[in-house]
Amino acid sequence: MTVMDVFVGIDLGSTTTKAVVLDGKGGVIGRGITNSRSNYDVACGIARQEAFVAARFALTQAALAATPSLCDRAATLLPALSRSFRLQQHLGQLDLLRDALHRVAAQPRYQASSRELDGSVDLIVDTMRDRAPAMFGSLSVRKSDFFRDVAAAEYMQLAEERAGRKGATFDALAGLFDAAILPVENTAADNLFETHIGPALDRVLNARDDAAMTESMREVVTRVRGIDFHEASAVGTGYGRQRLPFPKEQIRSEILCHGLGAHAMFPGTRTVLDIGGQDTKAIQVDPQGIVTSFQMNDRCAAGCGRYLGYIADEMNLGVHELGPLAQQSRCRVKINSTCTVFAGAELRERLSLGQRREDILAGLHRAIVLRAMSLLARSGGVADEFTFTGGVARNAAAVAALTGLVHENYGQRRLNISPDSIYTGALGAALFAQRTGHP
C-alpha cells in the first residue's frame, strides 16, 4: 500500500465548513465543503471527507492521464465517474433518510397514523430514488450541493402531492422530515470514497461495455483507492476553531489564514477583502503574505453574507439569484446598511411603492460594499493587487459595486477573484499546516 503525506486545513465558518488537502509539495489536491450545522465536529468531519474524496479524484485524474490506453478518454471518463459517485453517495443518504423517517414515524406521537405515514414515506423516498439519476446527469444543474437542501425541496414537493390522505397530512410528513434530516446530516461517513467508488465505477463501466478499458480503469481506481493518506499535520481556523479537535498550536486565526491563502492564490496580493457569513475582514499583507494590519466589523454583522441571505428570504429568492437580478438594474435605489432588519423593512416599503426589485437589489449590494469600503479605509486602504474572497465574492453584483467604488476612491487596482475563493481560509490553514508539520 502506498503511503502519501498530506497537509489539511479546515475553515469552520459560520455558514459553511471548508477543508483543503495539500500534497507533500504544497499543491492543492482536494477541496471539500459542507454546511456548518450545530455540530461542528460533524461539519469538520464531512468537509474533510469531501476533501479526501476530491483528492482521490484528482489522483485518479493524474493516473488516467499517465495511462496511455486511457489518457485520451480521461476527459469523459472522469466526469462520468464523478457524477456516478455523487449519485451513489446521494442514494446512500436517501437510504439513511428513509430509515430515519421510519424511526420518527414510530414515535408515540405519530402512533395513530404510523402505518399511513410509513406508506407515504416509502412512496416518497422511492420516487426520490427513481428521480436521482436524472439529477446527476451530465447536463443537470443542482441548486445546491448540500443533501439537506436538495432532499428538502424534493421531499416537500412530493409530500404536498401525497398529502391530504388520512393520517399522512402534509404537516405530519413535513414534521417527520424536520426531525429526520438532522441525524442524517450529522452522520459523518468514514471512508466515503472507499464505500461508494465500487458501485459508482460499475455503473460507468457497465454503460460502456469495453473490456480492455474496463480492465485498466479498474486497475487505476484500485490503485488510487489503496493509497493511504497520512495526515502529516492539520491546522484549523474560522469562527468555530476553538471547537476543533486540534491542539492549540494547530489553530490559527482566520485573519492570518485569509492573508496567506490569498497570497498563495495571487502572489501579488497586498490587500484582501473577505466578506463571509457573519463578518467582513479587511486585511493588508506584505509580499510574503504576512498580515500587517486588519480591521473587522464590530458588534453588528449587517453588510455580511447573512444580510444577503435575509434579503433573499424576504424576497422569496435563492441567495444565488440576487446578484444576477441586481445586475439588471437601470436605476439604483439608495438603501441603508446599518441594520439588516431595517433594510428588510425598507425593502418591503420600496416594493409597496412600486419600485423594481432589480433596482432595490442593486441598492442593497452597494450598501454592503459601502460598509466594506469603510473597513478597508480603516485598515489602511486598497493597495495593488486587491483580492476579494469569501462567499460574497461569488456575487457578480457585489463585485461590480466593489470595483466601481475602489476605482473611485483609490484609482486603478487589479482585482483578483478566484473561483475557489471560498476556500481561501482553508488553503491558508493548510499552508500553515505545511509550514509547521514535519512529515
Partner: protein
C-alpha cells in the same frame, strides 16, 4: 480602577497589597456612609485633575462618580443603572459612565458596596479635556441643591505647559475654588496643611513610578494595564496626600521588587502568569463589565501589558511630575494640566511611542470605547502614526466602559488572537516564541 472587592471570585490569589488596597477603598466607602453622622462634608469631583490634597486640607471627603460607575460595572450592577437612566430619557449613545451614575442615583444612590452615598455639599468640576464632565455635572446640579465650583483647565494642544496657563489656574484656585471650599467646610484655607499633604503625595508618587517602571524588566513583574488599574486606585482617588497611600505603595513596591529578584511575572486572577510571550502597550480605558474575561484573553496567551495610557488619566508621574510642597497651588495647576485626557493627539502619540521603545514592546493595542469621545477621537490616526514611527504593528479592538451590551466576547477574542498571531508571524526567526 480600584478595589478588587466582590468582583473577584473566591479562590483568587491575593497579595498583601491587594488586601490593603481593598481595605482602603472599602474604608473610604464606610467613611462616606457615615459622613453625615460624623458631621463631615462631601465633594463630588472627577479623577483627572482632582484636587484631593486641597479637599483633604479642608477635611472634605471626595466622591468620584467615574469610580462608582466602574465599581458598579465590576459588580454587575451597571446594566440595571444604565437601563434606569435610559428610562429617564438619556440616549443610548451617551457616555455610559454618566448613565450608570445617573441610574445609580435614581435607584437610591447606593454605592458599589451597597452602602448609601451621601449627597454632595459641593460639585467641584476640574475640567480636563472631557466635555462630558461638564454636562454630567449639569445633570447632577439638577438633582442636588448644592453649590458648584468650576476649575477650567486649558487644553494642552502642544503638550508644553505655558506660564500663563499655570497662572490662570492658580488664579481660579485663589478666587473661586478656595473661597468656595472655605464656604462649604466652614474652615479657613490652611496652606501649611496643604503643603504637608503634598509632601505625602510626592512620597507615594515616587514608589508608584517605581512600580510602573518595573515593567521595563523582562519578564515584566506587573501588568501595567489590567493590574495597573488596581495600582492607580489609591493615588487616583481619595488617597493622594495620605499616610495610607504611602503605606500601600511601599508595600506594593516591595512585592514587585521581590518578583523582579526572582524573575517572576505578574499575578493574575488565576495566579502567577505563565511565560511572557508578548509585551504590549495599551491605549484607551478597559472594559469593566467583563474585566476578568478581557484580561484572561491576554494572560492566557502570555501577553503582558508593559505600559498603558489609561493609568495616566490621573497624572503623568512617570514623565517626572511630582506634587511640590514649595509651590502648592502651582504644582496642583501643573498636575491638572498634565493629565493624559488633557493632552492633544501629538503628545499622546509621542508618549505612546516612548512607551513602545522604553518598555521594549512587541506591539500596541488600542481599545476603542464607543461611548468615550475624549479617548476615542483620533485613535485610528494614533494607530497609523505609531505604526509608522515605531515599526511595530498595532491592534484595534472595540468595547465599552460599563455597558455590558457592547462587549462582544467572541469578536474581541478573535481580534486579540489574530493580532497576537500576527505578532508571531512578524517576529524575526529565532526570536522569542
Amino acid at each position: 480602577m480600584t478595589a478588587r472587592g466582590e468582583a473577584m471570585a473566591p479562590g483568587v490569589q491575593k497579595e498583601p497589597s491587594m488586601l490593603l488596597q481593598k481595605a482602603l477603598i472599602g474604608g473610604h466607602y464606610d467613611a462616606l456612609a457615615r459622613a453625615r453622622e460624623d458631621g463631615r462634608k462631601v465633594v463630588y469631583t472627577f479623577v483627572p485633575g482632582n484636587l484631593t490634597e486641597l479637599l483633604r486640607s479642608f477635611d472634605l471627603l471626595p466622591v468620584l462618580p467615574e469610580i462608582n460607575a466602574l465599581q458598579s460595572a465590576m459588580r454587575n450592577k451597571s446594566a440595571g443603572y444604565i437601563a434606569e437612566a435610559e428610562k429617564h430619557g438619556h440616549s443610548e449613545d451617551v457616555c455610559t459612565y454618566v448613565k450608570c451614575d445617573i441610574g445609580m442615583l435614581k435607584k437610591g444612590n447606593l454605592g458599589p458596596t451597597g452602602q448609601p452615598l451621601p449627597k454632595p455639599d459641593l460639585l467641584l468640576l476640574s475640567y480636563t479635556g472631557c466635555f462630558t464632565f461638564m454636562k454630567w455635572f449639569e445633570l447632577l446640579r439638577q438633582e442636588y441643591d448644592c453649590p458648584v465650583a468650576m476649575l477650567h483647565v486649558p487644553y494642552q494642544a502642544d503638550g508644553v505647559i505655558q506660564p500663563h496657563q499655570r497662572d490662570y489656574i492658580v488664579r481660579q484656585l485663589r478666587t473661586d475654588v478656595i473661597p468656595m471650599l472655605e464656604y462649604v467646610s466652614g474652615r479657613r484655607y490652611d496652606e501649611a496643611a496643604l503643603q504637608e499633604r503634598l509632601a505625602l503625595s510626592a512620597r507615594a508618587e515616587d514608589d508608584f513610578v517605581h512600580v510602573l517602571e518595573s515593567a521595563k524588566h523582562v519578564p515584566s513583574p506587573i501588568d501595567a494595564y489590567f493590574g495597573g488599574v488596581y495600582y492607580v486606585g489609591p493615588i487616583f482617588s481619595a488617597f493622594r496626600g495620605t499616610k495610607e497611600a504611602i503605606e500601600y505603595y511601599r508595600l506594593l513596591r516591595e512585592e514587585v521588587d521581590a518578583r523582579v529578584t526572582i524573575g517572576a511575572g505578574p499575578i493574575t486572577p488565576d495566579g502567577p502568569m505563565g511565560a511572557e510571550r508578548y509585551r504590549l502597550v495599551v491605549e484607551g480605558p478597559p472594559n469593566w463589565t467583563s474585566f476578568r474575561e478581557f484580561w484572561k484573553m491576554f494572560y492566557d496567551e502570555g501577553a503582558v501589558v508593559v505600559a498603558s495610557s489609561y493609568t495616566k488619566v490621573g497624572g503623568l508621574y512617570d514623565r517626572g511630575f511630582r506634587h511640590e510642597p514649595s509651590r502648592p497651588l502651582e504644582s496642583l495647576a501643573d498636575y491638572c494640566l498634565g493629565c493624559y485626557t488633557n493632552l492633544g493627539l501629538p503628545s499622546r502619540v509621542a508618549l505612546l511611542e516612548r512607551y513602545v521603545r522604553d518598555y521594549r514592546a512587541d506591539g500596541f493595542v488600542i481599545n476603542s470605547v464607543k461611548s468615550c469621545n475624549s479617548f476615542s477621537v483620533g485613535q485610528l490616526l494614533i494607530l497609523r502614526q505609531l505604526e509608522e514611527r515605531t515599526g511595530v504593528p498595532g491592534g484595534f479592538i472595540e468595547s465599552d466602559l460599563v455597558d455590558p451590551r457592547y462587549f462582544s466576547a467572541s469578536n474581541i477574542r478573535n481580534r486579540v488572537e489574530s493580532y497576537l498571531q500576527m505578532l508571531d508571524q512578524k517576529r524575526p526567526a529565532g526570536a522569542r516564541p
